[in-house]
């Protein structure tokens, strides 16, 4: 923050005095007032919920299908696919977690004894 002030020429730091609401602020406020209630009702409507759920399912389905196809392709070429890497990542994570838990258990036991 301080460095920000220091790098800016003094003439830029000085704001133009104005006691009234800016036109942009007033305009945005008016638009927000008009659109606010309808925006909220759209977001909370049944139709919106259906659309979001549908979009989520379609996205998941398309991603699963694409993964399946690309996996087949890479495996045909005897190469690992992203899903194989992810599976390895999960396994490494599980091992890391087990090591961590053992380490914590040891540390807790030492704390209790000490």
């Amino acid at each position: 923050m301080d460095s920000c002030v220091a790098t800016v020429p003094r003439k830029l730091v000085k704001p133009v005095p104005d006691n009234k609401t800016s036109l942009v602020t007033a305009g945005l406020g008016a638009v927000d007032t008009v659109l606010g209630s309808s925006r909220d009702s759209v977001v909370r409507s049944e139709e919106f919920a259906v659309a979001v759920a549908l979009a989520s399912r379609v996205r998941t389905g398309v991603a699963a299908r694409a993964q399946h196809l690309s996996r087949k392709l890479w495996h045909t070429l005897n190469l690992p696919a992203a899903t194989d890497v992810n599976r390895l990542l999960t396994q490494i994570g599980a091992v890391e977690r087990q090591v961590r838990e053992l380490s914590n258990a040891l540390s807790d036991a030492q704390t209790r004894e000490g």
Binding site: M1, D2, S3, C4, V5, T7, V8, L12, V13, P15, V16, D18, K20, S22, L23, V24, T25, L28, D32, L35, G36, R39, V43, R44, F48, A49, V50, V52, A53, S56, R57, T60, A82, N86, L89, T90, I92, G93, A94, E96, R97, R100, N104
Partner: protein, 362 residues
Amino acid sequence: MPPAAPSEFLERVNRELSRSAVRAQYGLKHLSGLPMGKVGVTPKTAVWQRDRVTLYRYADAGIRHGTPILLVMSLVTRPYVFDLRPGGSLVEDLLARGFDVFLLDWGVPDVSDSQNSLETYCDEYIPHAAAAVRRIAGADQLTLFGYCLGAVLCLIAAAGNPQMSVRNLVGLATPIDFERFGPIANLLREGRMDPDQMLDETGNVPPSVMLNAIRMLQPSTPIASRAGLWRGLENAEALSARQAIIGWSTDHIPLPGKLFQQIVDLFIRGGALITGRVPLGSRMVELSMLECRVLSVVGERDQLVPPECTEPLADALGSVQLDSLSLRAGHAGLFVGSQARKTLRSGHRRLACDDFVRGSND
């Protein structure tokens, strides 16, 4: 309002144009990488660590109150918001009032944290961190200060672990009724959306999903942010402050997948927090068993966790002493920014100085 005279209107347009010129100059500097200042600058020392979780203690000069405060962040955002900027920092305020302040930083979860559960946080991390705080500060008791989901974790941890010796518990924007959490929560509750659909390859809920869910609750936020940026461009200080808070509000971290599934099952579908009975491990934790006083702070303008979302806390706590404070602020505005500071002065005084968070040996 009577229509403005043409001369007055022209003067206003002229004034707006001259301000726009200043904004444009700052805007160019902003686009070219104007440094926005650092966040979380109050000196602190790491005093305890477990897995990815780190406990920090802020500079301890001038401690006047005996009961240390442990700040517990939500699990989806970063904790530097507690110490956002010099002059706009909750940590700074608390230190100035003589408190011994600790911060629990969850770190950034990865694949090895995806199996972190409610039990990991409420029976392991928070109780161990609380013990470390008491030991390091040389205190018998401590104050838990939780924000958003962090406040929920504090409630459950303190209720389920009386040995934590919590004297006071402050919950900022504590979500209790998850039914009011917007469209995504509704979809999850009704079973139209499966929690698994929201996890990525690491088994965690990625930050982008959290951000999109929040944007559904506040669809006009990006426009308002840009408008705010335009307004703030005429002043370096305001620009820096705005950039800091906007940067934080979009700087999410992954939420562990197992915990997310528990949140959906227990809180969204099961309403466990509303009933005040939360299954934790092999036991049932009753929030009404809390042995400390609770202060709940809500923001009247909070769109993420509106006051109605926190309302059932009183019933859930039963006979536990509960103080409530309602502030004219939004979610982050509960403790961030100069405007929030002015608005919250009475709240902060009540939180930090007058009677609530003081220790027994003051």
